[in-house]
Symmetry: C2
């Protein structure tokens, strides 16, 4: 079962769910941007400055989190997201490389 914050383990991740999460252009852009930064980089949702409301931003990050693409942790007043590189590379070898190659 996913943990209390909705993070699936690598074994619980589904390729189809991950592809659906990436099919949205804003969510794809978030993953692509995290990929261009050093591994382990923490970013708040607000720092991506997505052209949508705060609640829609929250929704997009929930989809990314529940698919297993990002891990979110509480940092005081906000939540910080990191890309789950190692987990994704082990569960779906080559997927992040494909996205990195496109950006």
């Amino acid at each position: 079962m996913p943990d209390e914050d909705g993070h699936p383990s690598p074994q619980e991740m589904s390729l189809q769910v991950v592809l659906t999460a990436l099919a949205d252009p804003l969510r794809y852009a978030v993953v692509s941007e995290l990929l261009r930064q050093p591994a382990g980089t923490e970013r708040t949702c607000a720092s991506f400055d997505l052209p949508v409301s705060k609640s829609t931003t929250t929704h997009h990050f929930r989809v990314l989190r529940e698919a297993g693409l990002v891990r979110q942790v509480d940092r005081g007043n906000s939540r910080a997201a990191t890309l789950r590189r190692a987990d994704l590379d082990s569960r779906f070898p080559g997927l992040l490389d494909l996205i990195a190659a496109e950006s």
Copy 2:
């Protein structure tokens, strides 16, 4: 430019468009089924027996064709689809392997 039937060349394919095409469960199932068959297998749209109308089936195959996932050719009264394995393997190395590993 894509050819007159809407088939993009490998260079024209977009990962985001391909991921969006694969995000639909029926389209994902078509690709997954073609992957389980010998390379070059031709299948008519009707042979997949998708639980949707004929026009919706046609729509799904158009999305797959325009993304570059399948090639469709006229075969008398119907169109046959083949998976563009070599093109996809060269443009997005490892993507089809990920899908094959899940099925």
